[in-house]
Amino acid sequence: MAIETAEDHHKTKHASHVQHHFANSEQQADSAKLGMWVFLLTEVLMFGGLFCAYAIFRAWKPEMFSEAHKQLDVVLGATNTVVLIVSSVTMALAIRYMQLGKKRITLINLWLTLGLAGTFLVIKYFEYAHKFHLGQLPGKFYTFQGIEGTNPHIFFSIYFAMTGLHGIHVIAGMVMISWLIYKTSRNTFSSQYYTPIEMTGLFWHLVDLVWIFLFPLLYLIA
């Protein structure tokens, strides 16, 4: 008996964006969402390892942490927090406007998100540059003399590891958002199909979430 080819099946049953192994658009979208949430679980655990290291060393050396953290610029840190929060709003709006089928406003919000992400990185660059200048570097490159307490380099090691890993995720997010801008402008998405924007949004919100905890833990130790 004739076996229905994948192509036949594809044409008669599926809208163009639904892959052949899915029964319908809803199953595909739900699968993508579950997959992305599981991925976010893995990200929480990966960052979580660093939070664990932070917790342990801060519990062992609370005075050193308190002293060392004064070297961080709270204004820049708070600014970055605001930048990321606003970028989360614009990212969420980008999804909302594609749900409404409004391509132009979606694009504006995607560009805004991208710009704000870039701003975050620029501010981070200035922070890092200042630390490099002062010799507040991780591990064996640490040469700064101004902090009391033993092994202050550990604070900076943790600082660079946490903000560095976070920064890498900001860059990854920017790559994804750029791809979304490209695909949106080519009309790939619609009010019926905007899953990639939604998934990128989930990822971007996680990046924001991590920073929401990083900021007080690194910059606001009393």
């Binding site: 192994h21 579950l34 655990l45 290291a53 591990g139 380099h153 660079f160 590891a161």
Partner: protein, 543 residues
């Protein structure tokens, strides 16, 4: 119909169609080839190590080389073989078919997982030539941050391999939740799927912590960040916490898929409904859950606080309960069943015997006061080889022999199958039971040489390893022979009721010709008659 129907091996043709395949069956076969290759590489290393240990002192190599070889043996076996083995090789192949699905949820991600695996493997292989690591597969600090062997490339390789594992787990979780055929409820799924699901949960929850551990190790080694190195203000025991938080659940990534296979083999070859379906299913989840609560039982002698040691010892005893539940249920399943002692069933029976010993000795070691004496001795080596090899590898071999006709459309020689199984069983026990004795007499592990009193037992163990190797050699020969000269396999040679047996052997590229509908449960041997002679499986429900 033509004699050789189009199947996933023959269609589509060409190297490019394999390199860019999205077919889960092809991806499974590629993984299968790779993991078996690495199994034999690491196995050969083991034979070399055992030969060195025939006599105390230097036989073939110096101590540094010995350290490098056992590190490689462990690293390759764990990260390149056993962790991916059943999920990625067999799971990829059978899972969608068992669910009545066309593929996994994310086929492109699946191919991505494969290439990430290859990429990670290349890094690990490179590390061999760049100055093979001599730290042991556990990379304990501060030695791993200060030794001048190629720790960076090896840990980077393992880091990359971790992502392959995570993405496979993610794919399976979504597939199981979302892509079941109409009528396949959670409690109509084969227990193989429950086992793969629990494994996937561990993969996604534990492996990210390995990722950050290795990342921190790389940073410690490159920049001296001072988290793990006491000379820089760090804590080496902290490294062990980070490492074992992954690596203990990882051993359940290794055993759960094996147990999953055993459920299938025992039911099929007893021609009987599995006893305690829900208990077995839930116990898989129970193992996954409890596996996260016990990791520091690997650290009883590390210098961790006594308070933590006591907690972890106490919790370790709970981990044995779900495993025990499974073993009892399997044994009861066989009671009054119509037992068919085919090769897969022989491996399943070997598993029951060997895993019970392995698991029980694990409970011995969970007792803090006992482990203080036995830690880092050959008792530990024997314990984990009993569970990993006596457990997982036996299950894997059973699974290979079970699904071989489905995967390749050929039957192997049953007589040689049984002979190899028996030789492997004998060789395994010769090699590793001896090591329980060696360890309890005080022989430390990872030692290049030893005092004369241990020599007879070491020699016996080494001879056992040659017998084991012989068994594997025979197995390779008849399996490869079957690919060329084996009898064509019917679609359901064993008379099983799970859905993959409703496809042809080998299956069509799209698995099922029509969208499958679930007509019966996976273990309804008491209500369904199977016509095993038919080209396609015919089922009639017995009234």
């Amino acid at each position: 119909m033509s004699l050789v129907q189009p199947n996933y091996l023959s269609e589509p043709q060409g190297l490019k169609s394999w390199l860019l395949t999205l077919d889960h069956k092809r991806i499974g076969v590629m993984y299968f080839t790779a993991v078996m290759f690495f199994f034999f590489v690491a196995g050969a290393l083991a034979i070399i190590l055992r030969t060195e240990l025939l006599n105390p002192g230097r036989d073939l190599m110096d101590a540094q080389t010995y350290n490098q070889l056992f590190t490689l043996h462990g690293g390759i076996m764990i990260f390149l073989f056993i962790i991916p083995s059943i999920p990625a090789a067999i799971g990829n192949f059978v899972l969608p078919m068992m669910l009545g699905a066309k593929d996994v949820a994310f086929p492109r991600l699946n191919l991505g997982s494969w290439y990430i695996y290859v990429f990670g493997a290349l890094f690990c292989l490179y590390s061999i030539v760049a100055g093979a690591v001599d730290t042991g597969w556990t990379f304990y600090t501060p030695y791993s941050t200060t030794t001048d062997t190629a720790v960076l490339s090896m840990t980077l390789g393992v880091f990359i391999l971790g992502f392959s594992s995570i993405l496979t787990g993610l794919n399976f979780i979504v597939t199981i939740h979302k892509l079941r055929a109409p009528g396949m409820t959670w409690f109509k799924m084969p227990l193989m799927v429950w086992g793969l699901y629990a494994t996937a949960l561990i993969q996604v929850m534990a492996t990210p912590v390995l990722a950050i551990t290795l990342l921190l190790l790389i940073l410690e080694r490159s920049f001296g960040i001072g988290i793990f190195d006491p000379a820089l203000g760090g804590d080496p025991v902290l490294y062990q916490h980070f490492f074992w938080f992954y690596s203990h659940p990882a051993v359940y990534i290794m055993i759960l898929p094996g147990m999953a296979i055993i459920s299938e083999l025992i039911a099929t070859f007893s021609h009987k409904r599995i006893f305690g379906y829900r208990a077995i299913g839930y116990s898989s989840l129970g193992i996954a859950f409890t596996s996260f609560l016990v990791w520091a039982h690997h650290m009883f002698t590390s210098g961790q606080s006594e308070f933590a040691a006591m907690i972890f010892s106490f919790l370790t005893f709970f981990v044995g309960i779900p495993s025990g539940i499974k073993v009892f249920n399997w044994v009861v399943t066989m009671y009054k069943g119509s037992i068919d002692l085919k090769t897969p069933m022989l491996y399943a029976l070997s598993f029951l015997f060997l895993f019970t010993i392995g698991g029980l000795t694990g409970i011995f070691l969970g007792a803090l006061s006992v482990d203080v004496h036995l830690h880092d001795t050959y008792f530990i080596v024997a314990h984990f080889h009993y569970v990993m090899m006596g457990g997982t590898v036996m299950a894997l071999l059973g699974g290979i022999h079970y699904w071989w006709p489905k995967m390749f459309g050929k039957m192997y020689n049953e007589v040689w199958g049984r002979i190899a199984c028996i030789i492997i069983f004998i060789g395994f026990n010769m090699t590793f039971f001896t090591q329980f004795i060696l360890g309890s007499q005080g022989m430390p592990r990872r030692y290049y040489t030893y005092v004369d009193q241990y020599q007879p037992l070491h020699a016996f163990s080494s001879v056992g390893s040659y017998v084991l190797g012989l068994g594997f050699l025979i197995m390779v020969i008849y399996l490869i022979y079957s690919l060329f000269k084996g009898a064509p396999a019917p679609s359901n040679p064993w008379g099983s009721l799970t859905m993959e047996w409703e496809t042809t052997s080998p299956p069509h590229p799209h698995n099922f010709e029509h969208e499958p509908v679930v007509k019966h449960g996976p273990y309804d041997y008491d209500t369904v008659l199977i016509d095993r002679e038919a080209e396609q499986t015919n089922f009639r429900v017995r009234r």
